[in-house]
């Protein structure tokens, strides 16, 4: 092998040929077939995105041309720009190459096109109508080439023009610049195909004159920004011709519409063009295919959802009766702009915004269209801004994405650099999309997975290497989302806060419109806070100018954006001297986002942060937001007690540790990292830690005063009620009772001193929050002795106790003190709370007690139905029902022997004591009421977390905190429904009332 030959193969390889030997063979065959030489193949092939395929296709085209006698047309293209177009087209689109193989006569077209084509004389409508033998000059063109032949003729003509667009697109050095022309030409082609399809349809419909049908393009076709292969979205509208009744008109129009669509998308000798999709019509795929203008109007006035108006933004008549099309537009266009005033606009605007910002349910990473930072994100950002500001500014009422972007920038609604960056990203994404689709004329938005595919795409779109292209793509994805934030939020900042002169700063009205659109109830107040946060020359103001655009978006995500922004301002002012605070927010997006969420959601956490800012530093680290385990807490308490000799200091330290844990749990709870029932457990753990620690200190203190017995006396603190069930909330009291074991003289006095000491230490006012100790559930209640010996307890329970005391014991759980005594106590009460048989009298007493409680315990002036604890179907209905089952059956069924409501509920259902549907109803009610109380405690502004608020705005916020998408009244309705069902179960299972038939 000579050195020249080696370098030729190498040159071929360098030009992108994968198999040089095969390429040389193909070139040879082409030269033989055409009788012409191929000049400098490596150079020529280097322009093709896929040289191997290009060569093969050229050979096939040449063969076809030869047998069709069109070889001259092919050869004459040599060395010309037209020839170059043929080359890149064959290398860039297998499908269009195949078209030339089927129709070699189209080769003659190449030399007729302008060298630098802007498709000005494409005239697709005229050309396609002519192709089916219809008169393009007529208002109502009718095809004379009909049936399958007409359809084929139309499709060939369509592809012929498509070929022209594709060839220019593939050849130009900067396809991103040509893109708007390409997309416009493709949309016009689609419109022309529908016109020709309609002409064909009329030819097959004798009664066509009965109706005046217009085809309205939606989506990308409507906006004249279509891609090569995509569904074409349409809506049909028809008016009856004079003297024709409506019913007949619509019947004929539906037939015409169907036939026109079939001409484009049915199978045939020439492949289908694309799917015609009419699902954006009123009522979607269930609605009538064709409606008249009045019926459209009525629908949009009465029924349409917000997104349907958004779709109308891009509507444009493309085929059929021009006048009807224009009338339709005149009727629907104004509605788009009043959509902003409709109920639900803010919600759906928020949903759109969230989608861009969070990528809820992010699709595949390879998605150019739907992936994060993809085309859809660009479109949403632009449309949302159009909808927010287009109402007061008609200059924004344009269809296309790029037009709109420009109008937004000219109008000063977004910054010029941001608009330019967004436009660059959009164009590049679209060019990639086009290149991918061109190859096989297939509908795809997926970046190729394999190296080969990526290489071809890089070549087709002018990138030297795959790596470089991938890098640019990653940049674009990041930029799109960054630009969204910059475009959407930054202009809200006042003029003085601009980072550069190019920045947009909205005037007051526009800024307020944007703030309200994202959910600020008091945009004027918000503006004031923003101004305060960003004004001045301090380092703090400078950092906040950077931070705020993103923070505003996050506040808007929270339940109460206004409160969030205000709290942020307070916090910033309070921490203005703390370097770490701003540094943390600047360096950790996670921390900043979490802080925004906390401040705009939870008053409880906000107050805690304002009181002690250290917790802010946890926000950067997931591990710091994990509730601590009881072991961890106990070890910490142990360390505190070991190093401290001063009882007061030690108690304060323990109380501080509990406060810190409550903030941690509340923050995690608000951020959705733990659920309400796990939070309840963690809060109970913190109480366990504190009470156990306090008991240790109390022994020490009492021992100093009354002797050493205080250190060894078997003593037990038993958690009762919700605390016993590990279902405490942030502000709950701790229900307990104190038990000791007689260890000789003075035991009772010492036990009493211990109990009093513990209670005092926990309740005393101090620098750290107290924990209220409630011992009312002890034997004989308030009138009983504060401490009792085990023996006295046993005696009491055996002889005197009321059924309610057995019921209270169901929730008894030793939480601090002597282990042996704990076991003995538990064994003793098990006989009481899990009796072999519950006497009828006890049952009756329980029921009476509960019924009396319902009428007496409810606070005055409160609607019982809204009382989450004592109201019908509230917590107590569920708990009493479960507890009744426990009293009756726990003796036989071990699973019921638990202090926790949900565990017992599941055990009751598993054990067949409750119907599955009843268990579901009880669980649902209990969980919802618990969640609501938890959310209200976090909100931190309710006087009473037991009563569902009546204010619908507050309800909506709770709904948001619960992670539902309900409105306030809907949450109210949901609670009423859930509790009504639970009440029905309680009446049947607890009260034993039978339903009268």
């Amino acid at each position: 092998m000579s050195s020249r030959e080696v370098s030729y193969a190498q040159r071929l390889r360098r030009s992108g040929v994968a198999d040089p030997a095969r390429a040389e063979r193909l070139i040879g065959e082409i030269e033989v077939l055409t009788g012409a030489t191929v000049d400098d193949p490596p150079h020529a092939l280097s322009y093709l995105s896929d040289p191997d395929v290009g060569l093969l296709q050229l050979l096939r085209v040449a063969e076809a041309a030869k047998s069709a006698g069109a070889l001259d047309a092919l050869v004459s293209l040599r060395g010309s720009r037209a020839g170059a177009k043929l080359g890149v087209m064959l290398g860039g689109s297998v499908a269009l190459g195949d078209l030339l193989v089927r129709h070699p006569e189209l080769l003659a077209d190449f030399s007729t096109w302008p060298a630098e084509d802007d498709f000005a004389d494409l005239e697709p409508r005229t050309r396609l109508l002519t192709a089916v033998g219809a008169d393009p000059g007529s208002e109502v063109p009718i095809a004379t080439v009909t049936g399958p032949a007409g359809i084929a003729a139309m499709r060939v003509e369509y592809r012929r023009l498509l070929m022209r667009v594709a060839a220019e697109d593939l050849l130009v050095s900067t396809p991103t610049r040509l893109f708007p022309k390409v997309a416009g030409a493709l949309a016009d082609l689609a419109g022309a195909a529908l016109s020709a399809g309609l002409a064909l349809a009329r030819a097959g419909e004798p009664d066509y004159a009965a109706t005046r049908l217009a085809i309205i393009a939606m989506g990308k076709t409507g906006a004249r920004e279509l891609n090569y292969v995509s569904d074409v979205d349409v809506i049909y509208v028809a008016q009856a011709a004079d003297g024709i009744d409506e019913e007949r008109s619509l019947r004929v129009a539906a037939r015409l519409a169907n036939a026109a669509a079939r001409a484009c998308d049915s199978m045939g000798s020439e492949p289908a063009l694309w799917q015609v999709d009419a699902n954006l019509r009123p009522e979607g795929k269930d609605g009538a295919l064709v409606r008249n203008i009045e019926s459209h109007r009525a629908y949009y006035e009465r029924w349409a959802d917000t997104w349907e108006f958004q779709a109308l933004l891009k509507a444009r008549p493309v085929a059929g009766d021009r006048e009807v099309g224009e009338q339709y537009m005149a009727v629907v266009s104004p509605m788009v702009w009043s959509a902003v005033e409709r109920e639900g606009f803010v919600e759906s605007a928020q949903a759109m915004r969230r989608r861009v910002e969070h990528h809820v349910g992010a699709e595949s990473d390879r998605e150019l269209k739907l992936g994060p930072g993809g085309l859809r994100d660009v479109e949403f950002t632009v449309q949302l801004l159009q909808l927010v500001h287009g109402r007061s500014d008609p200059s924004l009422r344009v269809r296309g994405t790029l037009e709109a972007l420009r109008a937004l920038s000219v109008g000063g609604y977004v910054g010029r650099p941001q608009a330019a960056a967004m436009e660059r990203c959009y164009r590049q994404l679209r060019v990639w999309e086009h290149r991918l689709q061109l190859r096989k004329l297939a509908r795809t938005h997926l970046m190729p997975r394999d190296e080969d595919g990526l290489r071809l795409l890089a070549r087709a779109s002018g990138f030297a290497t795959v790596d470089y292209m991938t890098e640019v793509w990653q940049d674009i994805r990041r930029d799109v989302r960054r630009m969204h934030l910059e475009m959407f939020y930054r202009p809200i900042l006042p003029v003085v806060a601009r980072l550069s002169a190019d920045e947009a700063a909205l005037d007051d009205d526009a800024a307020r419109a944007r703030l309200s659109a994202i959910g600020f109830a008091d945009p004027v107040g918000a503006q004031r806070h923003i101004a305060a946060l960003t004004s001045g020359v301090s380092r703090r103001a400078a950092i906040q100018r950077q931070l705020l655009p993103a923070m505003i978006g996050w506040f808007a995500d929270g339940a109460d954006p206004d409160a969030g922004l205000l709290a942020f301002r307070q916090l910033s002012e309070q921490l203005s001297e703390s370097q770490w605070y701003l540094k943390l927010l600047r360096d950790s997006l996670t921390a900043a986002e979490r802080l925004a969420k906390l401040l705009s959601t939870s008053g409880y956490v906000t107050r805690a942060l304002l009181a002690s800012a250290e917790a802010i530093s946890w926000l950067d680290d997931d591990a710091d937001l994990e509730p601590r385990t009881l072991e961890w807490l106990s070890a910490e308490a142990d360390a505190i007690l070991t190093r401290s000799d001063d009882p007061d200091q030690a108690v304060t330290a323990l109380r501080g540790a509990r406060r810190r844990e409550l903030v941690r749990i509340a923050a995690a709870d608000t951020l959705g990292r733990v659920n309400a029932s796990d939070a309840g457990q963690a809060v109970s753990d913190a109480a366990d830690m504190l009470i156990a620690g306090a008991l240790r200190i109390a022994r020490h203190v009492v021992a100093r005063e009354r002797g050493e017995l205080a250190r060894t006396l078997p003593f037990l603190i038993v958690a009762m009620g919700r605390y016993g069930g590990r279902e405490m909330s942030y502000q709950s009291d701790a229900d307990v009772q104190f038990v000791y074991d007689d260890a000789g003289d003075g035991s009772n006095d010492i036990a009493l001193a211990l109990a009093i000491q513990v209670r005092t230490m926990l309740q005393r006012v101090g620098s750290q929050p107290s924990l209220a100790i409630d011992a009312d559930l002890r034997p004989e209640g308030k009138s009983g002795a504060l401490v009792r010996s085990l023996g006295s307890c046993a005696e009491y329970y055996r002889r005197w106790s009321d059924p309610w005391e057995a019921q209270a014991l169901l929730r008894a759980r030793p939480c601090a003190g002597n282990d042996d005594l704990a076991r003995a106590f538990t064994d003793m009460i098990d006989d009481v709370r899990y009796p072999p048989k519950l006497p009828q009298s006890a049952l009756k007493q329980m029921r009476t007690l509960k019924a009396r409680m319902e009428s007496e315990r409810l606070p005055r002036g409160v609607d019982p139905r809204r009382h989450l604890k004592l109201g019908p179907g509230g917590l107590s209905d569920v708990e009493w029902t479960i507890q009744l089952l426990q009293l009756r059956h726990a003796h036989a069924k071990d699973g019921l022997q638990t202090t926790q409501t949900l565990v017992a509920l599941d055990a009751a259902a598993d054990g067949g004591l409750l119907r599955a549907s009843d268990a579901r109803a009880l669980r649902e009610a209990w969980v919802l009421a618990t969640d609501l109380r938890g959310a209200m405690a976090l909100r931190g502004n309710a006087r009473d977390t037991d009563v569902l608020p009546a204010d619908v705005r507050e309800l909506r916020i709770l709904a948001e905190m619960l992670g539902t998408r309900l409105t306030g009244p809907e949450l109210d309705d949901t609670y009423s429904r859930v509790s009504r069902r639970a009440r029905a179960v309680a009446e049947r299972v607890f009260f034993g009332w039978t339903v009268q038939a």
């Binding site: 409506e246 019913e247 619509l250 009522e283 269930d286 609605g287 009538a288 409606r291 019926s295 006035e301 029924w303 104004p334 509605m335 009043s338 005033e341 109920e343 002036g861 609607d863 139905r865 009546a950 204010d951 619908v952 705005r953 909506r956 409105t967 306030g968 009244p969 809907e970 109210d972 309705d973 009423s976 429904r977 009504r980 029905a984 339903v995 009268q996």
Partner: protein, 444 residues
């Protein structure tokens, strides 16, 4: 400001309207009205007019009193009895909370919500009520009401009050854009029937409310008294509001299927099955007063038993026979509703019952061919014709367990109706009636 609103503002100015009455309906179906001056109108469209909702039956609880009435510009109408110049006009309102969300306790919202559910299934819901009412001499306290005439069904009374009355009322209704299909003297003395031309259910419910007002106004003008009480006379027939119902899918009548049994499509049969299955549950809504049950169980043509028939005047659900080729007018008639029902809620529960039938693909039982009243109780039971509730108390007890009604009305309205109706029943039970005094006092 949308086009409709602009149109209203322009009309108000051109026609020199001095007062605009904002109408809405409480949960019991009583029309409420608040008048505003034209200058307030723009504000009413934008923000609504605030009012104390706690003063209106069932609208709110006392402590959440603030509500807003937002007029629906598409319901704008000049009130004809106020004269042509410097007159008054009315619009129906949607009630919203201060947060701008629809108030769940607004009956109009209940119907809107239910219609939206139907729309999601691709249906539009049309109704066409036949409204009966009595014309009495102006009432004297404590006396049995005296009808204006002694005529009967279809009687033409020469120079009769009723004749003149109907003519004036219908002219007025037509001038308010409410088309009347049919009107005649009914069977009872002084009893009239006027049938409204079918319309979508929301418009129709608005129309029924307007209708009642117009009838009362005209009666006052003519020195008589009109009443929609379900059963005002012991011996006369009651006043019903037989409601013809149809569903459309786009522009096609979804109840019609050429060639099938009674030309009824499967959708129609399932819808009817739903109506029948849930009839007892919805009765407390369609027949909401103590007095309603005296009509429902008053014999004659009152539909007391759950069954359907074609052209059977004793059946609860009747399939009218329509002229051949008029498939678009296929419909079913629900005969229990009385003239005092809240039309918004009544239409809502009927639609919901029917839709449930469609969703669950319920099977329609066999039709009834006999006069159900003629059958013995045992025969009726054997044939599976369940009775409707016999009293308000029974109806409320049945409704209380109805998930369908709870879901359709929303928990709030549901709860209110339950409480209100129980209270009504208790108040009624406290009465010592003329019947008791007459029968028992002399002998006991």
């Amino acid at each position: 400001m949308d086009k409709q609103q602009e149109y209203v503002l322009r009309s108000v100015e051109e026609r020199d309207i001095r007062f605009i009455r904002l109408w809405f309906t409480d949960v019991l179906g009583v029309l409420k009205s608040v008048a505003i001056a034209p200058a307030e109108l723009e504000n009413a469209f934008n923000e609504g007019i605030g009012f104390d909702g706690s003063a209106v039956e069932g609208l709110t609880r006392v402590y959440e009193a603030d509500m807003l009435a937002v007029p629906d510009p598409s319901t704008f109408q000049i009130l004809p009895w106020r004269g042509d110049r410097q007159g008054a006009a009315r619009m129906f309102c949607d009630i919203v909370t201060p947060g701008g969300e629809p108030a769940l306790s607004d009956p109009r919202q209940v119907l809107k919500r239910t219609l939206k559910r139907a729309a999601a299934l691709g249906f539009t819901f049309y109704t066409h009520p036949e409204i009966e009412f009595y014309l009495f001499e102006p009432p004297v306290d404590g006396q049995t009401p005296k009808p204006v005439d002694q005529a009967g069904y279809f009687d033409n009374v020469p120079r009769g009050t009723a004749h003149e009355f109907r003519r004036t009322a219908i002219t007025m209704l037509e001038s308010m854009g409410i088309s009347v299909e049919f009107s005649h003297h009914e069977a009872g003395p002084g009893q009239q029937e006027i049938d409204l031309r079918y319309a979508d259910a929301l418009t129709m419910a608005d129309n029924v409310m307007t209708f009642r007002t117009v009838i009362k106004e005209v009666a006052l003008e003519q020195g008589v008294f009109a009443s929609f009480m379900p059963k005002p006379l012991v011996d006369g027939p009651g006043s019903g509001m037989h409601t013809h119902i149809s569903l459309f899918e786009g522009d096609r009548n979804a109840f019609y299927e050429a060639g099938s049994d009674h030309q009824l499509s499967p959708v129609a049969r399932q819808f009817m099955a739903g109506l029948l299955k849930y009839a007892p549950e919805v009765t407390a809504i369609t027949n909401q007063y103590v007095n309603s049950y005296k009509r429902l169980w008053g014999g004659a043509e009152a539909p007391s038993f759950v069954c359907w028939g074609s052209n059977n005047r004793s059946a609860l659900v009747r399939v009218p026979i329509h002229k051949p080729g008029k498939g678009q007018s296929t419909r079913v008639e629900y005969r229990a509703v009385d003239a005092a029902a809240n039309p918004y809620l009544a239409f809502s529960v009927l639609l919901a019952a029917g839709l449930k039938g469609i969703e669950d693909q319920l099977e329609l039982p066999e039709g009834a061919e006999d006069d159900v009243w003629e059958l013995s109780p045992a025969e009726r039971r054997a044939m599976g014709y369940e009775p409707l509730p016999a009293s308000l108390s029974e109806a409320v007890a049945v409704m209380e367990r109805s998930e369908l009604v709870a879901e359709t009305l929303g928990e709030r309205v549901f709860d209110f109706v339950l409480r209100n109706k129980r209270a009504e029943w208790e108040a009624y039970r406290n009465q010592v009636t003329a019947f008791e005094l007459q029968r028992y006092l002399p002998v006991l």
